[in-house]
Symmetry: C2
Subunit: 437 residues, 2 copies
């Protein structure tokens, strides 16, 4: 048996709302010192370009090159990494990549138009972004699956150039990551990281091309840099700790549920794993499984801390109430480990990804089911969506007015423009009126 | 003749790229004093709620109420404003609202699913945001058209509650704005503004409901507050000065082009109006029209300043090169004032809205063509899109694995998880393998 205390809550208790809020609370500390250091790095890259990039890479990554061009990996090096993979890894990555691509293709937005009787045409023209930067962390958080999840939707959107940056501390490259880059069809790879890599992608240097959007996870320096360059380039979300919320009707093997909670909790000590059930005996059984299985886990310490600090087992009156709690939490990952997931999913409004049925462990979605594993965290699923092809496409409105159509619209526009006191607007419209009104 | 100097550029000249960059340069100054004042206001609203809201509204808007509930306008007051409109304004607003709604309906995203042979189902569930806040500025920049453009797509998306905030300095309401709110079907209106209104919407008070996303333009305090509450709620873009870029083949009446440039320039002194043409004589003619028409304009001073400071007439070799320049600028509004706009539009990758043909003045899109007038500015059309229904919808990924499907995916996930050193992930997957591999 393992010593772990995990919060138990009941929706029926008077202070449930506050207790839940306390468990969910997550405030990324705004660190003024980090902010100003990152600002400084961005300014240096903008002013000194390649020279600063080489110097900062030497300083922070202990990786020294003679010229900025030496920071780039050749296509051959990527190919070699791919060819050096054990065959089971290569096979698994290929399966994952193919499924991610198939799902991404379904998300692709198409241009459309419609015509009005007077010949006026309205529409929406969809185009891919020109250039995209993918940030990949170095060191222990370097996940080949993240390379696939960030790059494949960009590729599916038709982005013409995908540029990956990955720090190689001490000069050490991660063959799995490079192999994934090869498989995903990334165009260029630079061995840079941190705020300096983000700044180089946002503003461009002689060696690193300026991109239109930067995606991918990173540490607090990377996240801060992304926030600061936003507007100059697009960025994906700035992610908080990873979360899972499981709704179980009591019919799933408690060991399965415990392990699903662990799979989230093992990410890091701030990760959040919550189980909701109307079945108190089931909650007890899962708690027992947690105690029994925890000592067998390689990352037991991280799991224990995460579950003690931010985990919870919540007893609800019924599955409808479970759905209400889920909508309030708006979790990144939501498992519906129930007999009839269809009727429950219809009640879910806020969740990044929904895993339906007892067999659909979140981990299957993390790697290879197809949908993206880059998902909104910290309740942002209330207003945002998984990373997808649509994040690498943009829309332009199209308006073509026939002579007659312009005449009609101009009369309306003229009244509204004069109502707003904008007379140049009004006169510009009135030039398009065919006969005087 | 009027004294105005407007920059002339030629793509053929050696320093064209730098000159263009200089004209386009726009850096919103980060004002540390404003930043910390806004932070303070947000903290006060979070801590003191309604009491702070009443006090700050008295202080900044010179509008005093006994209770926070007096800050809300009744549905009756909105209805009265609508009924009090002159009939031509009412008619014009109705035409605009109807066209905006028709276009918005086309943008609506639908849920989808697909099944695999082993019974696994993948999909995307689309749901509307629950609650949305619309910020409407008070005073001179209060545009009823903006109320329609921000609220109607939210309504079309199926948002269940739309809450408008609008400051009423000195207690004075704007009947046009209230009438537009009535027409757009806004659910609740509060007479509050500034950072305090943004904070109230983001965190909620006893009187003002917490929303999931805040949209709508505002001054630097509002913009700063929106940036600071981002993450707690969604926000739309933070807009820079408005811009138009016109490509003319020389065949459009120079007076029309001049007035189209004016219609952008009259917004404010930082607005940007640029004309591109391969026809030097046409550029001269437009410049002459500008000089001749400028003294007849009510907002001549604003137009003169804006055109002198940020305007440009650019001579290009041909229309292909004009498209290249447009893609580089990525303008908010792009007029293709040419004989064959179809062949030109196919070359445009970066633009918020594209106005095709000589009759399609930008102003028609500003008010009533149908597409949204909230558009990406300052080159952000490289990676972002007009405000649309999709901004008020979100997606959740759906994954349902059949027993057999889970078995297959689990084998792949297990290999990848072990490759990444995540053994709880691997074991969670392995529980779903039907027979041992």
């Amino acid at each position: 048996m393992s010593d772990i205390s995990i919060t138990r809550l009941e929706t029926g208790s008077a202070n449930f709302a506050q207790s839940l809020d306390a468990i969910l609370a997550w405030n990324e500390a705004e660190d003024a010192a980090i902010h100003s250091r990152v600002m400084e790095i961005i300014q240096r890259i903008r002013k000194e370009g390649d020279a600063a990039l080489v110097e900062l890479t030497r300083l922070y990554d202990r990786f020294e090159v003679a010229n900025a061009s030496d920071l780039e990996l050749s296509p051959d090096e990527l190919k070699k990494a791919w060819e050096g993979l054990p065959s089971d890894s290569a096979q698994a990555l290929m399966v994952a990549a193919e499924r991610i691509r198939l799902y991404a293709d379904r998300q692709k937005m198409e241009s459309w138009r419609y015509s009005e009787p007077d010949g006026t045409v309205l529409g929406q023209q969809v185009t891919p972004l020109d250039k995209v930067g993918v940030y990949v962390p170095g060191g222990k958080a370097a996940y080949p699956s993240s390379v696939l999840m960030n790059a494949i939707p960009a590729k599916a959107a038709g982005v013409s150039e995908i540029i990956m940056v990955v720090p190689t501390p001490g000069g050490e490259t991660n063959p799995l990551v490079l192999a994934a880059a090869y498989l995903a069809g990334i165009d260029r790879v630079f061995r840079i990281g941190g705020a300096q890599a983000v700044a180089a992608l946002a503003y461009g240097t002689a060696t690193v091309p300026r991109v239109d959007k930067i995606v991918g996870p990173g540490n607090i320096y990377v996240a801060t840099a992304k926030k600061l360059v936003f507007g100059q380039v697009g960025i994906d979300m700035v992610a908080g700790p990873s979360e899972i919320l499981i709704i179980s009707d009591g019919g799933t093997d408690p060991d399965w549920i415990a392990m699903d909670l662990f799979s989230q909790a093992e990410h890091d000590e701030d990760a959040q794993a919550i189980l909701i059930s109307p079945d108190r005996a089931h909650l007890d059984a899962v708690e027992a499984s947690i105690r029994r299985l925890l000592p067998t886990m390689e990352r037991a310490d991280v799991i224990r801390t995460s579950l003690s600090r931010r985990g919870a087992l919540i007893e609800v009156r019924d599955l409808d109430e479970a759905a209400d709690v889920a909508n309030r939490v708006a979790p990144e990952h939501l498992e519906l480990s129930v007999e009839d997931p269809e009727s429950l999913v219809a009640k879910i409004r806020n969740a990044g990804a929904i895993f339906m049925g007892r067999y659909t462990a979140e981990v299957l979605g993390d790697y290879c089911a197809g949908p993206n594993h880059v998902l909104p965290t910290s309740g942002t699923a209330r207003f945002s969506s998984p990373l997808g092809v649509y994040d690498f496409q943009k829309r332009s409105s199209l308006i073509f007015c026939s002579r007659q159509g312009a005449d009609q619209l101009a009369r309306t526009a003229s009244v509204l423009a004069r109502g707003e006191g904008l007379t140049a607007h009004a006169r510009s419209a009135e030039y398009r009126i065919v006969e005087s009104p």
